[in-house]
Subunit: 370 residues, 2 copies
């Protein structure tokens, strides 16, 4: 793809917006397809289609305008992707989407690669929960197979008597029961693979959640180089197994057993990821530019950090702190242009930078900035 | 101005485009007004008005949509600016535009501040040239007072017999005759002033021109700290004298006399400047973000470099080298989305980064990257 070509983006949220901004820096045009009015990405792209994903006439026009198509979230209806794929390259391709849309397939895929996952069990009906719990133990987490994100469609069971409540909570739908992992911390690997098979990964950040929403990523995670290398290898294994093109994230639990750290894969996101937002400010090439390079068939860029970074999500009313954040010399503010503030809504993020070596293994985690 | 507000931008070229991208990162919307179809900035802003600058109905709608208005070039017709100013804040204001649009006023303004300029003479008619040359000496440069940029409207005289050729070349219009400055190098100061009077400046780059178009900026310029401080002071004097808001550039000649370096001011650009493009990649806050912060009434950000930088303009066919440039790990590519390549047209730029201390005083200038 040459400069001036158009990348179609399915989804117009903040991830689509940051992808569009990265494409523009490289002289590429974007066309954003999204059902919601006033989508954040609409403000920064050349063309907009506001339509539902089942409108084939709109999808057809969108495909005609784009040289290649990508997406900002894995829950794009597969019928829309199939329709588009018949007309234009969609990257990453169906193998990534099929796997990431279904939590059961995802776990089986990881296990088949020899990557550690928490013990899990397929749940098709309420009656499946009790025997699965007997095998897996407590606590355990019931998660819907489809359409889960930010902890939605999940229920943590601390007692076998909660089976019915859990089943109701996930909407009485095909699910997976997973053993609860007693982790010491959560990290992620943000990796990229190009059309030429080139692979690159950023240093894994530590991720801190509250109410099952990411609040903070700390780059680099305070872990050993050996563990960071292992995380990177997991990213590579996943990407190569499905001939992946673009950026993907693998969320990982770090557990401690007999004084030894171990990684357990939790989830794969076949897209740019919230825990990689700090790359915008701490690296020469961000995860967004990296994804655009891969989709465009261009070589991947460097992933080295020039700074350590703490990224804090601005969720709901956190946005009201923008005047302090924009005034802080060590902090870079990113706002998504969302007009309505709602509780739990990601309104922006702020990344505090510090010289290399400020964080990382055996260093204290800095105070909260946001 | 709060996030979600709209900044109107007059002019839709690459400077307007990079301003719009910077505004978007901060959650601000942009509306670009530009007469030319397919303007580069149109691809990355929320709203577009494609209209001539004398269309008052279009200007009125533009003003109604914007919370504040700025511009990417100083040759916006002053009638349009006056019309808009009656409706919305236009920043920087008329003092900057009046001065920068007229090369004679600009020189007089600089001289009144005690800033060194080359000897100059007002030229109203052909007959004014001979006596002016007698006073100023040869070589000398005849420059139109209005609408000059990138060396357009200029003629270098090496011989008094060239007066008529020079007068024809500048279009037989009100001009200034300037002594040719025998400079050792050209530098610029990129400075910013906020609505709160805050002042910030980047380290001055050295600028290399070919055919009177900027080809390369090298940051930092290989000059002494004392000279850099002096350049910074010139930026501050200019900005404070006219209560300036936004980013401005002052182009400066460095001359050597009796082993002592001296700065001679050449030109003021009341806007973001080509010689500041390297700030996108070598600083946490670029000149574009800095300008948007000032126009929005937000505090200025830091101007420190985290890297040394060489910025090469991609002019005309230079754009054909994009595959090599995008593959170079130390180089950041910026393309402007222009669909037609023409000789002399700025199509993009590439910034090569190097660790701090790689360039600067007494270091060899690196090989050309582009």
């Amino acid at each position: 793809m040459a400069p001036g070509a158009t990348i179609g983006i399915l989804g117009g949220g903040q991830l689509g917006r940051m992808l569009a901004l990265a494409a523009a820096e490289l002289g590429l045009r974007t066309h954003v397809f999204c059902p919601e009015q006033d989508s954040p990405a609409f403000d920064v792209c050349r063309r907009v289609t506001q339509s539902s994903y089942d409108n084939e006439a709109a999808l057809d026009l969108f495909a005609r305008d784009a040289d290649a198509i990508t997406f900002e979230f894995e829950n794009v209806p597969s019928s829309a992707v199939a329709f588009l794929r018949a007309r234009r390259p969609v990257l990453p391709d169906e193998r990534a989407l099929d796997m990431a849309q279904d939590r059961l397939k995802e776990k089986e895929f990881l296990r088949a690669l020899g990557i550690d996952v928490a013990p899990f069990h397929r749940i098709n009906r309420l009656a499946d929960i009790a025997p699965a719990l007997a095998e897996i133990g407590l606590p355990a987490v019931l998660k819907t197979r489809l359409y889960g994100y930010d902890g939605k469609g999940q229920y943590v069971l601390h007692d076998a008597g909660e089976a019915e409540a859990a089943w109701t909570a996930v909407g009485e739908t095909a699910s997976v029961l997973e053993a609860f992992v007693p982790f010491s911390r959560e990290i992620s690997i943000i990796a990229a693979r190009g059309q030429d098979g080139g692979f690159a990964a950023y240093d894994p950040p530590e991720n801190q959640h509250r109410g099952q929403i990411l609040r903070r990523s700390l780059a680099p995670a305070p872990i050993s180089q050996a563990l960071a290398d292992q995380a990177r290898d997991i990213g590579r294994q996943v990407a190569e197994a499905i001939d992946y093109v673009g950026v993907l994230a693998v969320e990982l639990f770090v557990t401690e057993e007999n004084g030894k750290s171990r990684l357990i894969a939790n989830e794969i996101a076949p897209r740019v990821h919230n825990s990689g937002h700090w790359t915008l400010d701490a690296c020469a090439v961000s995860q967004f530019e990296q994804h655009i390079r891969a989709v465009a068939g261009w070589p991947l860029g460097p992933t080295a950090r020039h700074s350590d970074a703490v990224m804090d999500n601005l969720i709901g009313d956190d946005i009201d702190r923008w005047p302090q954040l924009v005034a802080a010399a060590d902090t870079r503010l990113h706002l998504y242009g969302k007009t309505q503030t709602r509780a739990g809504r990601k309104m922006g993020h702020a990344t505090r930078l510090a010289p290399l070596g400020s964080f990382g293994a055996n260093r204290p985690v800095p105070e909260t900035a946001a």
